[in-house]
Structures are given as C-alpha cells and as structure tokens.
C-alpha cells in the first residue's frame, strides 16, 4: 500500500470569475489526522470536492490509495461529511442510513447490524426510544448531526474527509466528533478535515496545510511547522495589565514584531534581531509584575496570522473559535 493516502500534485481549478485553487500540491500520510486550514473562500471546499471527484481539476493529478481518484473503486473506501448538512427529511433514519451504506457498497444486511450498533453508541437508540424508526424531520438538529456522522462512517472507510466538521455543532456533538477522530486515528484510518478554527486543528492534527486565496502558504507536521517558526515566541502573563509600561514596551518595534493581546496574557513574536533577555529586563525595570515569561513555540493561530496576515482577516478569518 502507498505510504501516502492522498497525493495531490500541481492541481489547479479556475471558474469563470476567479481562480479557486492554484498549483496546489499536498501529501497526506496514511494514518494521519490532517488539517486543511484557511480563511473562508481560500479554496478548501473546492480542494475537497476535487479530492472526491465531484468536480474535476483543470490541471494536475490526484491520487488516493495510490490510484487516480477517478477510479470508481476507491469511493467505497472514503467517507465524506459535507460542510452544509442535510438528509432526506421525510425518510426514516434507518432507511436513510441503509441507503447511504448501499451507496458505499455495503449490503443491506451488514448495514442494518452496524446501524443498530451506531445508534446505540450515539444514544439514538435507548431502552425508552428508538429514533431509528423516526423520520429525519422528527429529530432535533443535534440528533440529525449524529445521524450524518453515522452515515459518513457506516461503511468503515479508510479515509474520512470532513468539510468544516465543527461548524454548527453543539458542544456535546463536537466532543463526540473529536473522540471519533481520535478513535479513527488509533485504528490507522486517515482523516482529513478543513477548518478555520485553529484551536481544534492544533489539538487534533498531526499535519496541517494552510491555504489562502487558493494557494498553499505552508504545510508539514504540526511539530515541524512550529519548530520552523519556533523560539521567537514568548508567552507573557502580567499581574497588572494597566501598568503604563506594558503598552509602551510591547509597542517597541525594535523588540516586538507582533502581539496577540488577550488582556492578561500575551503571545509575543519577537522582532528578528531582538534579544528576549532585553525584553524581560525592560519589563522588570519598569516594575511590571510578571507571572509568566516563557520562550514557547508559537500557536498555529499565531503562525496563521503571521503567514496569512491581515489579508486573511479581511477575507473572513475568525481567529480562535
């Protein structure tokens, strides 16, 4: 089996009005949890649709499991959760799930057994109530989301593709999704998901790719990405935010390149030639009460801001989620 589950080489897609994806290459190792990060409109969904062969790229090649992604046999090994979700509203939950399983080549009998297991596991089938017999539109939004997860995973795919999986999820389902991703990882499945929420990505992903305006900004394992941008970051916590010197020192461009200000906590990116010792000394000399001063690796969020910058914010970037 190929070492990489997904290999995208020099892929481009242009629409009448704009370029959605430009010369994108990325590789997702088998068994990885891979994050596709970028502001809204960066080309994440287009990339995912090209991966799934829903739309065809204008140029470049895409291989999945070592096969061209146009090979119909690979679709049975992929599970997909689209960004905007919905199901046949008038259909019974069990019948919808059986249909989705059959589309992935799972025989109805096998599917039925798995459906029951999943419904029980996600509390949709309890001693009091079996929601499997209800119609979709009798379910709450949260329950419908659960049904959609089940539909994505019912055929036990080797590659799971999730487009903005966390958007619109209630906290309980978000937790269930995280647990599921971890479990898939433990079973050596490959998971790729797009998100604009850096916190989730930082905690879940082995590797990431940041794209903006249809182009790759950077990619690699989270560890290596952080190392590359590492050790120029300082985590600073102060006791008294209102101390006048704090603002003055942090605004000194010879010392500090950028600050992510969270009131009592600052994530600081040092200026290229600045010495962290100088920064610490100046703060101490000014009499600022310091709770924490630590050389850290930057957060993905920080890296994202640095790389995509203000233009990303302009285009709808929404920072911490």
């Amino acid at each position: 089996m190929a070492e990489n589950t997904i290999e995208i080489r020099n892929v481009g897609k242009r629409y009448a009005e704009h370029v959605a994806v430009r010369d994108l290459s990325l590789f997702v190792p088998r068994g990885a949890v891979y994050g596709l990060l970028g502001p809204n409109g960066a080309g994440k969904t287009t990339t995912i649709r090209m991966l799934l062969n829903i739309i065809a790229p204008d140029s470049g090649t895409i291989n999945i499991f070592g096969q061209p992604n146009t090979d119909p046999r690979i679709t049975n090994r992929i599970g997909y959760l689209p960004e905007e979700r919905g199901l046949y509203r008038k259909m019974q939950v069990r019948r919808v799930l059986r249909f989705l399983a059959e589309l992935k080549g799972v025989p109805a009998k096998v599917a039925d057994k798995r459906i029951d297991q999943w419904l029980e596991r996600l509390d949709l089938k309890t001693a009091e109530k079996d929601w499997g017999a209800s119609k979709i539109d009798e379910l709450s939004r949260g329950m419908q989301q659960k049904v959609q997860f089940i539909g994505t995973l019912l055929h036990d795919p080797d590659l799971v593709i999730l487009d903005e999986p966390f958007s619109g999820l209630d906290p309980i389902n978000a937790q269930a999704l995280k647990d599921t991703i971890v479990e898939l990882k433990e079973r050596n499945k490959t998971v790729i998901f797009s998100t604009h929420l850096m916190d989730n990505a930082e905690r879940l992903c082995d590797s990431v790719c940041i794209i903006a305006r249809g182009e790759k900004v950077l990619d690699g394992s989270v560890v290596s990405v952080k190392e590359e941008h590492g050790n120029r970051s300082i985590a600073l916590a102060v006791t008294d935010r209102s101390h006048g010197a704090v603002g003055t020192i942090l605004n000194d461009r010879s010392l500090v390149n950028r600050v992510d200000d969270s009131n009592r906590f600052f994530e600081i990116e040092l200026a290229p030639s600045a010495d962290p010792q100088v920064l610490l000394r100046r703060l101490v000399e000014a009499g600022v009460g310091i709770q924490r001063f630590e050389m850290v690796q930057p957060s993905l969020h920080q890296i994202f801001l640095e790389k995509v910058g203000a233009t990303g914010v302009e285009e709808g970037m929404t920072g911490h989620g």
Partner: protein
C-alpha cells in the same frame, strides 16, 4: 450497478410508501367505479318501477278500453302486485275526476293518473299526470301499452282473430347502435373516442405529474445537500438515471394498477350491478390487442424519460420552487401545446395535423397513442416515430446530465438559459 439499483429502490419505495401515492392510486379506481356504476344506478332508479302500477286510469271513452290498457301496462312484469285502477267516467265529469285524482297524487295516495278520451281512441293523444312524468321508461311503457291496445282494437274491428292479435302486436323491440368509421366497424363509436381521450389524458397527466415529481426530488436533494454526499459515491449521471427510472417506475406502477382495476371492474360490472338489482347495459371495451398495449407502455416510458430528464436538469439549475416554475416554462409550453391538439385530433384522427403531431418527439408520446387507439397507423410510421423519440431521449438525457452535474453544486442566483447552455460544454 448495485449503486444504481440502490438509488432506484430508494426513489421508488419512498414514493410508493407515501400517503400521496396511496390516495392517488385508490382515487383512480374509485372514480372509474363511480363513472361506471353511478350513472347506471341512477338510470335504473328511474327505470319503470312499481310506482307506475299504482296509478288510476280515468276512462272517458265509454268503450271499456281502460281495463285492457291497465292489463297491457302491467304486461308480464313479475314485480306488479297491483295494476292501475280503472275509473270509468262520463266525459262531462272528467274535469271533476281529474281534480280529485290530482289531490290524491298531491296527498300521495296515488302515483299518477292517465286520461283516456275520444282523442285517444282516434290514436292522437292520451295524457298522463303524476310523479313518474320524468321517467322515460315509465312513459314509454304507458305509451306503448296504449298504442298496442288501440291497434288491437282496430284489428278486432277489422275482423282479425283475437288470438292472433296478441302475437301480431307484441314486439319488445330494442335498438342498439354501432358506429362505422374509416377503419370499419369498431366497437361502440363513442366508447373508442372516450378510450382514446382517456389514454391521451392519462399520458399527459402522468408525464406532467411525475415530471414535476422528479424536479421536486432533485431540488430537495440539492437544497438538503444530500446530493453532494451521493455524488461523492456515484457519478451524477447515475443519480440522474436512478431518479428517472425510479420515479418512472412509480408512474408505471400506478398506471398498471389503474388498468388492472379498470379491467376487473369491467368484468365484474354486470354481476355487481345485478346484485344491486340493476341490469347492466351492454358495454364493450374497445378491442386493443397486446401489441397496442405494449406500444402504449413503450410510448409512456420514452415520453416520460424525455421530459423527466429535462425536468431534472431544470431542478438542478435552481434553488427554489419559484425559480423552478420559471425554468420549466419551455417544458410546460411543449406539454400544453400538445394537450391543446388532443381535442381536434380526437375529432379527426386521420388529418395531416394529427400525423405531424404524432411524429414530433415532444408530442409523439401523447398523440401517437391517441391515434393508435382510434385508427390504424402503418407500422413503418410507428417504427420511425419510435426511432425519432429514442434519439430525442438520448439527446435530452445527454444535455440534462451535463446541466445536472454542474447545476447540482451551483448555489446562488438562478442561471439564465444561456448560462445553462454553456454548462453543457463544461468539463465538470
């Protein structure tokens, strides 16, 4: 293939299970039954009944003819327990007797009365007044009883043997009519027109209803975003094909159920009506052979495919039902344009216009079956029409599938026809 089957199965079962389908399917036979039995029941109710026997004959002829007429009215009807009572009145007291009888009728002691006078004897006029005046069979019974009796009396006067008179005058003649057309004798004339109109209308209705149904299905999948999940598992063309076949199967199922129940009802009609105490008027279905029946199905399948594919394309291109109504206008135009020709072609199925309309792929699925059930169409003409229709189907499906796969993932504003035409040339 298994996936196509899964899609067909879903489209078919979800629709057949719906209340809408069950109601519509039951509605057909119920209407059919009502059309067959109710009119017969109503005519039978007004058929010559016992009521007419409970009348009075006011005999002002002074010849004693009243008694004979009373017997003639009853005839050999087994239901008659009474026979019209005869009151012999002198001509001068007739108006007095009539007022009395009228009051009796008003107060429901009497059904009605028959007045016999000199004019009756002359064979010119008799009168009836009463509650059965609107019943054509009752009046016919009274009229022929009087006629028969007067003819008999005249014959007696002429010296004919009384025994042979009854034989000579008795004739329960009924007249049945049959139509001869260009094609020759062919069942009852009106029945074959009704049948042809019913077929054309059924095809038209099914194509419109189930075409709209396909459109709504596509639109639902698009707005739900289920389409995206499905086309990540199968090519959009497969989804389109599954949908058209599944929905078409539903339409076909409904029509087969309708055809079978209609057939069964025609068979069971006489026994059922007998149970209700009615006699079934003779009624024969036009004789359509298996060949024609198969052709009808083929025309439905092709016509449905042609329109359903285009409806699906329309559904994929838009985002709301309102937009859909605008986009399908060209389709509606083709269908309604065909429907307005049904009536003139029914009147004159051999006309040049009928021929041309039955050749055009967009109207052939409706007009050709209509012609087939009314006149004989040369096999070569049928074959060429089918060929054209099949070609048109391929064209429609090809265009539709290309619009469909682009449209399914396009959200936002409604595309113009020009934009949709451009989608056909997109690679994907």
């Amino acid at each position: 293939m298994a996936k196509l089957w899964a899609i067909i199965k879903r489209e078919y079962l979800e629709r057949v299970r719906s209340k809408w389908f069950v109601i519509a399917t039951m509605f057909g036979p119920i209407i059919m039954g009502a059309l067959v039995i109710v009119p017969a029941y109503i005519t039978a109710k007004s058929k010559s009944t016992e009521a007419i026997f409970n009348s009075t004959i006011l005999d002002a002829t002074t010849t004693g003819i009243g008694d004979r007429i009373s017997l003639a009215i009853v005839g050999n009807n087994p239901k008659a327990t009474v026979r019209p009572k005869v009151i012999v009145v002198p001509p001068s007291a007739l108006s007095q007797a009539e007022s009395t009888a009228t009051r009796d009728v008003v107060e429901r002691r009497l059904n009605g009365y028959i007045v016999l006078d000199q004019q009756t004897l002359a064979g010119e006029r008799a009168r009836y007044a009463g509650r059965s005046a609107t019943s054509i069979p009752d009046m016919e019974r009274v009229r022929s009883a009087i006629r028969q009796t007067i003819v008999a009396m005249r014959l007696e006067k002429a010296g004919v043997n009384p025994d042979s008179i009854k034989e000579l005058t008795f004739m329960p003649l009924s007249l049945s009519s049959e139509r001869i057309t260009d094609k020759g004798r062919g069942g009852s004339g009106t029945v074959s027109i009704i049948f042809a109109a019913a077929i054309a209308f059924l095809l038209y209705m099914s194509i419109v209803l189930y075409g709209q149904n396909v459109l709504r299905g596509v639109l639902e999948e698009k707005t739900n975003r289920v389409a995206e999940v499905v086309v990540s598992s199968v090519p959009p063309e497969t989804l389109l094909a599954g949908k058209v076949i599944g929905v078409g199967g539903v339409g076909l199922t409904q029509q087969v159920i309708w055809a079978l129940t209609t057939f069964a009802m025609m068979k069971a009609r006489a026994p059922i009506m007998e149970k209700m105490g009615l006699t079934a008027a003779p009624f024969s279905m036009p004789d359509i052979g298996w060949g024609t029946a198969v052709l009808l199905v083929v025309f439905f399948v092709l016509g449905f495919t042609f329109y359903a594919a285009l409806y699906a394309a329309a559904g994929s291109a838009v985002n709301t039902e309102q937009e859909a109504q605008q986009v399908v206008q060209p389709l509606i135009l083709m269908l309604v344009g065909t429907a307005v020709f049904i009536q003139p072609i029914l009147v004159n199925p051999g006309s040049r216009m009928a021929q041309i309309m039955s050749w055009m792929p967009f109207s052939a699925p409706i007009i050709m079956p209509l012609r087939l059930s009314m006149t004989s169409v040369p096999p070569l003409e049928i074959a060429l029409t089918l060929l054209g229709l099949v070609a048109a189907c391929f064209g429609a499906v090809w265009v539709a599938s290309r619009i469909y796969r682009v449209g399914l993932l396009m959200y936002g504003k409604k595309p113009t026809l020009r934009e949709m035409a451009r989608w056909v040339t997109y690679s994907r």
